[in-house]
Symmetry: C2
């Protein structure tokens, strides 16, 4: 039987392994690691890379927190006073080169003293320029991970990502989506072990999926226009994270460690009034593809 100690220890190993691979890819900067304690129980290890050759800013965070359940969760679950436990790995990477997409990954496990538990997670990609090849490759990779565990997962979790990573006030998706799932708990034909295996596989797919995308793009020559477009798209990323992202909202509302939560924000971002990319440009094409429901695997 899988227990929380086992889950947390595998998550922590995964954090370290991802850090090692990203440092290898960057070949200049190292992650700075901060171990922090939470008032009320538990803590985490925040690892941040800054000013690298490939990665301008990124975080690979592990946390394991427990104690009295925050009122917000009790209210949401309509529960009385109880204890909670939560552990997870969260990653956001903002590359230097505008041709390398921003990536986000999160896997998490939550349980309550009354026996309720669930897993959640996902990976989504935010290209500054959408080149149709990469979304196809990325979604094939996500589908591969899902299909090995359950044939229903990819279509369901792909749609969930489209709906979740959506900037409503802009009527734009954050990027090309990926997979997203929450409150996954045991059910017919799905044991806790099955779910953990799937969640761990999602986490383990991060490097094999992202590394080739980074390598294909990291040396590309860029213009000032590319850089400016990247800054504007990062502005949208900030809008999503501060206005809609539930993890961010929950963290800020419950006095989480701000520097760990907001490691997701880019080193530089920009807002300019009413920017409309030139017709026919790569930027205009990208904008036109920031839509829900695109079947990236079968797109021409």
């Amino acid at each position: 039987m899988i227990n929380k100690e086992h889950i947390a220890s595998r998550f922590k190993e995964l954090q370290q392994s991802i850090i090692n691979h990203l440092e290898g890819l960057d070949a200049k900067s190292k992650f700075e690691k901060d171990t922090w304690k939470r008032n009320g129980g538990g803590g985490g290890i925040t690892a941040v890379i800054q000013d690298g050759k490939v990665f301008e800013k990124g975080g690979v965070n592990f946390s394991e927190v427990f104690g009295e359940t925050p009122d917000q969760i009790l209210k949401a679950l309509k529960l009385e006073k109880s204890e909670f436990y939560a552990t997870g790995v969260s990653i956001v990477i903002h590359p230097e080169n505008p041709h390398v997409p921003i990536i986000h990954m999160n896997i998490r496990y939550f349980e309550m003293s009354n026996g309720i538990y669930w897993f959640g997670g996902g990976i989504d990609l935010t290209p500054i320029y959408i080149i149709t090849d990469h979304p196809k490759y990325f979604h094939e990779s996500m589908k591969g991970v899902c299909d090995q565990h359950n044939q229903d997962f990819y279509p369901k979790f792909k749609k969930w990502a489209d709906d979740y990573f959506f900037i409503k006030h802009r009527n734009e998706t954050r990027g090309i989506g990926g997979i997203f799932f929450d409150r996954l708990t045991e059910q017919e034909n799905l044991t806790k072990e099955n779910i953990f295996d799937f969640v761990y596989a999602v986490g383990s797919s991060f490097i094999p999926t992202y590394k080739p995308i980074v390598e294909w793009n990291k040396e590309k020559v860029i213009t000032e226009e590319d850089k400016n477009w990247q800054l504007l798209r990062r502005g949208r990323y900030v809008e999503f994270n501060l206005v809609y992202d539930k993890g961010t909202k929950f963290g800020l509302d419950t006095n989480g460690r701000v520097e760990s939560i907001l490691m997701s924000l880019p080193k530089f971002a920009s807002w300019q009034y009413d920017v409309k990319p030139k017709e026919g440009s790569e930027a205009a094409k990208t904008l036109s593809l920031l839509k829900k429901g695109i079947d990236w695997i079968n797109i021409n």
Copy 2:
């Protein structure tokens, strides 16, 4: 008797007058004006200055909107279906030089078909570096405007600004505050005319208050360190506006014109991991003064 047409027309005049003065101060860039219509009734004039000599980015917006009251307002006021009318002027200015503070001003009037009405507004200042002289000057100016109308206003609205312009997750005020008030309606010794006169005086004090601060600071020599600190403080400004600001939230929730609402965001902002200014630096001093309840007028 003062009516909505009169209020809107005075607000619109004020917008144009402020635009003229700011263009004079900048002496390079002009405001770009967009007239927009709202689905459901009304519209506005968004005026944005970009890449000026003094002002990197700023907006001076007028709006006059009406129609069926959005569900969010009806719910908040516990009212049945009814018509609303709202008009206001909103300003946010992000100067180029880190020694020139960011400023925000808003005046607004709201009424419902059932006769309920109120005014709201305020001005607050966000210096990148807090030099004790300027907050004193700024608050004396705000107190001057308030005292001419009602002796209770300044202490009450100064505290309201401290509480409102507060970045809870950072435990920092956004800047040195100013005045903020909302739902101001007629009461003993305060007619609708009295309130309008006060609100209009707040709006009219914008240029006389801000212009000297701009002129004292706009030519100051700056370092790379100053620029970086400015980008970080602008990051905080973005955090406040996207996480806490009620006007922004309401605008985004009710399908307001996004480019007009988010004109408040700076051209460039930055987030860096766990920055701690050097002890004894101007930045460290500034951080130590981002607190509620400082009596800026009597500070040494």
